[in-house]
Symmetry: none
Subunit: 194 residues, 4 copies
């Protein structure tokens, strides 16, 4: 019973991801999501308080899952450079595997500034912490030079994030995660010759 409920909730979330990806949050209709999910309009409101809450649920769920998977995969990697590459790989793979989810993340996450702040301060904080701790660890091991780890985190995240956005805007459907290696190499060793 409880399972069935979770199933239907997920069904609605998946429908919302497809709908938001196609038309954007503000140009998507609740009735459209309902149709896509194969339920009645009113049913949406049994599982979610409002249209806005569906969007939040998408991010909540996707971020939770991503952080959980990432922590699991990173558990046994101790080399800082290897870890950074793994992080980039997981990030690119996760969004590269689901273009609709990626679209919602890259486009609708910037829903409005309050919305962004909310996630940046909670769920996304965990992700940023993973990157930051990896950089700090590398600095302790003298693999990385001195540099504000928070600053480095932003730079690294910015690189990955732009790869995803660029991939979305490109019509070509290349393997996004393949960029992880050279992205990390660029971040660690820079663009300079030698």
């Amino acid at each position: 019973m409880k399972l069935k409920k979770e199933e239907k909730k997920n069904q609605i979330i998946q429908a919302a991801i497809r709908t938001f990806a196609k038309n954007g949050y503000f140009n998507s209709r609740v009735s459209e999501i309902a149709k896509e999910a194969g339920v009645a309009d009113g049913t949406i409101y049994i599982y979610f308080k409002s249209k806005d809450e569906i969007l939040s649920a998408i991010f909540d769920e996707a971020l939770d899952k991503f952080v959980a998977v990432s922590e699991e995969r990173l558990k046994n990697i101790s080399d800082p450079i290897e870890r950074l590459e793994a992080i980039a790989f997981l990030h690119l793979q996760y969004l590269g595997a689901n273009r609709d989810l990626a679209t919602v993340f890259q486009i609708e996450f910037r829903h409005n500034i309050v919305f962004m702040e909310k996630f940046t301060r909670s769920k996304l904080r965990d992700y940023f912490r993973i990157i930051r701790e990896t950089i700090e660890s590398g600095q302790q091991k003298k693999v990385f030079r001195k540099l504000d780890p928070k600053f480095g985190t932003k730079l690294f995240f910015g690189m990955i994030d732009e790869m995803v956005t660029s991939w979305l805007l490109s019509k070509k459907d290349y393997q996004l995660e393949k960029a992880a290696k050279s992205l990390t190499r660029a971040f660690v060793f820079g663009l300079a010759e030698c």
Copy 2:
């Protein structure tokens, strides 16, 4: 007469930037922009065909101005590393000087994938070209190692872009352009020790 018309158009654009920055495009009302600009609702439609066109005009104007200023400033800088730093500086300074404009750029620009594509394919292309040519020039001078220049462009842009977004979300009002030097250093020399 012509001047006055341009003045009023600009007045509306500035009001729209403030309004969009505050509430986001979709949660802003045309009547609110009108009030903020000190004109009647209908007056907006003498200068713009639709609400959507106001948003486009903001980007059009801001990007044109930015590219024009940048090209002027970069004219006499030939050293690739210096050029990259100048680009980062100009970018960060331009948006750092106008928090409302920055908000609209970082939040509203990605509100709609079609809208993004439109600008990425035209106005923004010029900006990306400036970065790319600088990287290519550095590669010819053997200052930069071999790496797809387009890929490098994305990484560099991604770093800058994330700095701006992070600055917006931060409550602290630090000097954004101060990051240009260390950002460029990180991009060119990487994070690795020595």
Copy 3:
């Protein structure tokens, strides 16, 4: 369920007829129709795509019903003169029984040449055909003299139509259908003495 839906649709149509009759199509507000029908503004749009479509529906329905009733009543009348009189009677009775509907028909039907053409080419064509075939039948029976039947149809229709318009503009509420006999007599035998 289906019945209830048809009922409500009809309820809106009747409200629209009253509203259009009172103020004319362009000076009628959708909110006024809704109020008159006892439903919310938005409900109108569950049953009709647009304000314009309500007007079309009024004509569609009224013409369909009129042609159906007329064909039924005329089935057993073979004498051409009797048939013409019956047609005039039915036409005058139909509109004479519902002053609001008559107003919409006489005033709003000609509000727009494109709108008129649409109905003249479809629904109204059936009605004109009934008149024309009666004239042709009378000519075959040598009751009527040679005359382009289409021309005759227009003349006959014009006579009836003007009776309705005149009745609408008159404040007196006389029995419109009483004119059928003398109208037909005038059409068939003319104004000449003997």
Copy 4:
């Protein structure tokens, strides 16, 4: 000076006739009429109090001119049948000569019921009187049989009116006034054989 003023007023009226004929009164914009007349929007309001008054002026002027011309032409025709034919001819010729004016007359005259009543009670009354007196004269001369002359007037007017409407809806540009003879014959002698 006065002449020039009248000229410009007429210029606006002609522009309004073309504009109303094309789009109908409610779908015509004052700015469109101004453009068509080659004057500024505000200039319209120097010559007319409102948009509605332009429409009234069109009917005022056209009806005055028509009645004046008709009375002049009918002065020397005493035979009732000849007079009726002349009336039909003048009516059909007048509107047949200016399709735009005819469109405005047949379509926009039914602007709303109050508007119609206003003209039917004043300007149009003169025209109806001309027809009615002709019928009465024919009855006195025993050319026409006994029949309420007002009733006969409506029938005759209805026939002519429908000819005009039918011509408007027809794409063919036939000579409308050619129908005057057979129309009158039909009205006087009827459709009956012999």
